[in-house]
């Protein structure tokens, strides 16, 4: 599978889900996809349909209402699929960690492969995280 993983590493198509965030991480993700950072150099492309995606970027604390929908979207994706959690909310809950409608463990909704901390993380740190994912794929 080494040869296929290298192809996959060079063409990661990204789909973006916002699981009840405060919207800052989403804005930073959109910044990441602007010409200034130009992630198309690395083969990364934003796609509109989950059926085309290789990477899910999820943000937010996953409240009770959105969690089943995120699970459904994850199940609709063609495998192999990687889940990258953007922002501190997904890993620790950040300032919403005692919110009444949060999901206790985000990992139980969907398996998460990589966390990018930061509130919100800079586009540079997201690129670094994706580069690490590429390093894992390339062995």
């Amino acid at each position: 599978m080494g040869w296929y993983n290298k192809r996959l590493a060079k063409s990661l198509w990204v789909f973006h889900i916002s699981g009840s965030p405060c919207n800052n991480c989403d804005i930073e993700i959109l910044d990441l996809l602007t010409p200034r950072y130009d992630v198309e150099r690395l083969g990364i492309k934003l796609v509109g349909s989950i059926r085309h995606a290789d990477v899910l970027l999820v943000t937010g604390i996953f409240n009770q209402k959105i969690a089943p929908k995120i699970k459904k979207i994850y199940e609709q994706a063609p495998k192999p699929i990687f889940v990258v959690a953007v922002g501190t909310c997904v890993s620790s809950g950040c300032c919403f960690k005692e919110s009444y409608n949060r999901v206790e463990k985000r990992e139980e909704v969907i398996p998460i492969d990589m966390y990018i901390p930061g509130c919100p993380p800079k586009p540079e740190s997201m690129i670094e995280a994706v580069a690490k994912l590429l390093g894992v794929l390339n062995g």
């Binding site: 296929y4 192809r7 996959l8 060079k10 063409s11 010409p35 130009d38 198309e40 150099r41 083969g43 796609v47 509109g48 349909s49 059926r51 085309h52 290789d54 609709q76 063609p78 495998k79 192999p80």
Partner: protein, 309 residues
């Protein structure tokens, strides 16, 4: 003889040649588009990586889909494009043709759009259905102008309906684009190709911002790979068609090679420039444009050609 036919169909100038050249020219499209936005753009083999990656992904067959049509549509579209590429390539590189091959090509280009419509409406998804409907309207819009564009070389070459005869005429009397009617038909031809390939400003069926890839939305894995490959193969087929009809074909000896490459890349770059400098238009605007302006213009071209200008 059979081996030779299979070679033409599968290797050169058919499937393999068109796919590889198409994916490379698709890279040129993405690179030039990146330059337009002051970006660096993807590496050279990006489209190959995308294609092989998609081949290895899981294929999801949607529950609401009509299974047979859903699976057959992208493969049939690929077969149709391979056939068009073979017919045009045989005329361009080997000077071979058969009576009425122009009509076969006209018919097959329409068949490709029909495959997109079938594939899109087989998924049972609302967005895909809207995309398929828009593709149908776009086909109604551009088909008349496209056929009128074909008529100009037919009339100019003394009512020949064979690609190699048109090439032979152009070798004696100069390229058809050298005449006023030829210029008009060439301009309308580029606009029609833009609509046939659903490039901007006519990417109405795929409208990635509101229809999320339209007819191709529910496709994943190898089937999506074939749709992508179909799109890139058209980057070879349609510019070759214009070169064949209006620019006097390719001359593959000495300095002629440079001219041949320039002709092809020139048409592709004009298409990319149109793509990057125009916003998407509405479907009614597209219908208006083709029926009120492009088709009458092409018709004037045909009349001029009949008058011998």
């Amino acid at each position: 003889m059979i081996a030779w036919i299979l070679f033409h169909l599968f290797v050169f100038p058919g499937m393999l040649f068109t796919s590889v050249l198409g994916l490379l020219v698709g890279w040129l499209d993405r690179k030039v588009s990146a330059w337009f936005q002051f970006r660096v753009g993807p590496p050279l083999f990006q489209n190959f990586n995308d294609f092989f990656k998609l081949l290895g992904k899981e294929t999801i067959i949607v529950k609401s889909a009509v299974k047979s049509v859903f699976i057959v549509a992208p493969l049939a579209a690929f077969a149709v494009l391979t056939l068009i590429a073979t017919i045009i390539g045989l005329a361009l590189f080997y000077n071979e043709g058969f009576a009425g091959d122009m009509f076969v090509v006209m018919y097959l280009t329409m068949t490709f759009s029909v495959m997109v419509i079938l594939g899109g409406s087989a998924t049972g998804n609302v967005y895909s259905s809207i995309g398929a409907g828009r593709e149908m309207k776009l086909l109604l819009a551009d088909e008349l102008a496209f056929i009128l564009v074909f008529l100009v070389p037919i009339v100019k070459s003394g009512y020949q309906v064979q690609f190699d005869q048109i090439l032979a005429y152009q070798q004696n009397a100069g390229a058809i684009i050298g005449s006023p009617s030829g210029i008009i038909a060439f301009i309308v031809g580029i606009l029609c190709i833009q609509a046939k390939m659903t490039l901007a400003p006519f990417h109405i069926p795929e409208a990635e911002t509101e229809l999320v890839d339209g007819p191709f939305m529910e496709y994943s894995g190898p089937l999506l790979a074939f749709w992508k490959l179909d799109h890139y193969m058209m980057y070879v087929i349609f510019p070759f068609l214009l070169v064949l009809l209006f620019l006097g074909g390719f001359n593959l000896t000495g300095i002629g090679i440079l001219w041949s490459v320039l002709k092809y890349v020139g048409i592709v770059v004009v298409m990319i420039i149109i793509k990057n400098t125009n916003p998407r238009i509405r479907i009614d605007t597209a219908l208006n444009f083709f029926w009120k302006y492009a088709s009458p213009l092409a018709f004037i071209g045909v009349i001029l050609a009949v008058l011998g200008v």
